[in-house]
Assembly symmetry: C2
């Protein structure tokens, strides 16, 4: 099934969405909000699935579904923990900075605790604060868990994946290096993220969801020009089971915890950095990685970070070309807007 | 006024507590939970204050208030961001590790994003996972904000402090160094924190709340032996206004955001590390700092970290010796319990 949160209050109004993303039906009789459904997921999930079936069959009242009416599926969450599972991305970024990546990064997942008190709506503008901050997108996959116990193993952890969605983990590149150096993790360099209009249960993904990875191209665009289409199932060093197990090593994860994959990144066939889309490669899921490759190849970055008026789109299509999650579609706001 | 969350559901049941912490009255008519009250704080706060007055006057139904019936005031929160405002503490810990503290730490606040999806109750046992993890307490002061806008200045930020409370920021010392080295901040080294039974509005603190600091001794005990009684108003390099402004530099803070002071720590009169309580000093708010001082003075730490069965108590008393927030009182659970 597919779920979304329409505008209404701080936590939105839960609806079940048709598979083709054209229609929706109110889910208030099951749970008023997605968080409330997740708080009682064992009871709520089967009832929401029934509602989804009834919606497909035209048996329940329906409204027109518009992605622009959506908040993020969880408009605010009790946890947003973002991994860096595509270690290729980390290695590349460090290389461009002339910094060595510790070899342990290939075995020990990197996860930072992100701010979760307020997410941007999937079609809301991204605030633009300061040119120096280097505004960037990061296209990622994320899962939402139900209650996952302390110390859950990676295999069992996958049983706690309730929903899957896409993320734009908005990043201020000009602030990351100094925050990394302080050791306390990202804070000011990570303003509010946004999530895809729709969150889906793993069964909606069919064979593409396997081994805790989502094996489909993640499409990113800037001003309608394709930036990246890497396969989220490739080069993911730590699958979602490993990420959840890492996060739950010393504390339980409460229902509604969002765990992110980190920026999706594929290597080229020769093992080196992927090539840009314009050269027939799979491109990148953030501008920083494109700039890194430009620097490694030409000595300097050429692609600028985002500026007011720029537009970002992130989506994923199934084998038949149909949008699975709807699109994150955001314009960068005017300065100070 | 003083507020608490009694057991009941994931978010507890909001009650107003008498100033002397002996009685309480249900606040459901105003808001079912503390988060709901904070979501509409401008409306809810005056009504809760009226209820508090009526409770003191014996005009409303009342129940016996017991600290052991409490959850943390926010049993789960949308944000827990913890500073290191007592830079003295950071400098000492680094010194003992033989690491240099960057001078910028005196001007640029350190804040990490903490896990907030589930806090321990103030009298709940602390899980004990592994001897190697080095289980420690950290006694701190924290504030809860209402909606604080993006870019709020330090002075104006203090107007967004809705509530004040105490924290035990439970820390696994054996895991901090490697997480600091990774740069992504604390994650596994910070299991669930616990907060004082009662959260209070700043006006309850009288003159002790001044300039964004709480100028009273913060009392910590391990197995009933005093560990520390530093004044939380002394040596706080960044007041709560500065911490909130730092946290809100690139994103708004939503109502119910918890901002922590970091481990409270006072220097000795000569500017050096404070002396242990046993030697007439003000002691420490965590075992790690006591061990650091032992190491600096005697070459090795003598005080062990917490083990199963150990008991921790954290509280603060007003000038007349009355408990303000109730006490955090936790036993360390048996291994694997």
């Amino acid at each position: 099934m597919k779920l979304a949160s329409l505008r209404g209050g701080r936590d939105g109004r839960l609806v079940v969405v048709s598979t083709d993303l054209t229609r929706a039906t109110e889910a208030a009789a099951v749970a008023p909000t997605l968080q409330a459904a997740l708080d009682d997921w064992a009871q709520a999930a089967p009832r929401l699935a029934e509602l989804a079936e009834a919606l497909e069959a035209g048996l329940v009242p329906e409204i027109r579904f518009r992605e622009r009416d959506c908040l993020s599926p969880l408009p605010r969450a009790f946890q947003w923990a973002d991994g860096s599972a595509y270690v290729n991305h980390v290695a590349l970024v460090r290389k461009a900075r002339g910094a060595e990546m510790p070899p342990s990064f290939w075995n020990d997942p990197l996860i930072y605790q992100g701010g979760s008190d307020g997410f941007l709506a999937p079609h809301a503008p991204i605030p633009f604060l300061d040119e120096k901050y280097g505004l960037d997108l990061e296209a990622e996959v994320a899962v939402v868990t139900d209650d996952a116990p302390l110390g859950v193993a990676a295999g069992a952890a996958l049983g706690h994946v309730a929903l899957v969605m896409l993320v734009n983990d908005v990043t201020l590149r000009g602030l990351t290096a100094s925050e990394l150096a302080k050791g306390f993790g990202f804070f000011q360099s990570k303003p509010a993220s946004s999530f895809s209009p729709v969150a889906v249960t793993p069964d909606e993904l069919g064979a593409a969801w396997s081994g805790g990875k989502l094996a489909l191209p993640l499409l990113s665009f800037v001003n309608d020009a394709p930036l990246g289409r890497p396969d989220a199932g490739c080069d993911m060093t730590f699958d979602f089971g490993a990420l959840i197990a890492h996060a739950a090593r010393t504390r339980a994860l409460a229902a509604g915890s969002i765990i992110g994959s980190g920026t999706v990144s594929n290597r080229a066939a020769d093992g080196g950095p992927g090539r840009p889309i314009a050269e027939g490669g799979l491109g990148y899921s953030c501008i920083a990685e494109q700039r890194v490759v430009e620097t490694l190849r030409g000595g300097a970055p050429r692609t600028p970070f985002l500026k007011p008026g720029d537009r970002v789109r992130i989506e994923m299509r199934d084998a038949a070309g149909r949008s699975i999650f709807g699109a994150i579609e955001q314009a960068v706001a005017a300065r100070g807007a």
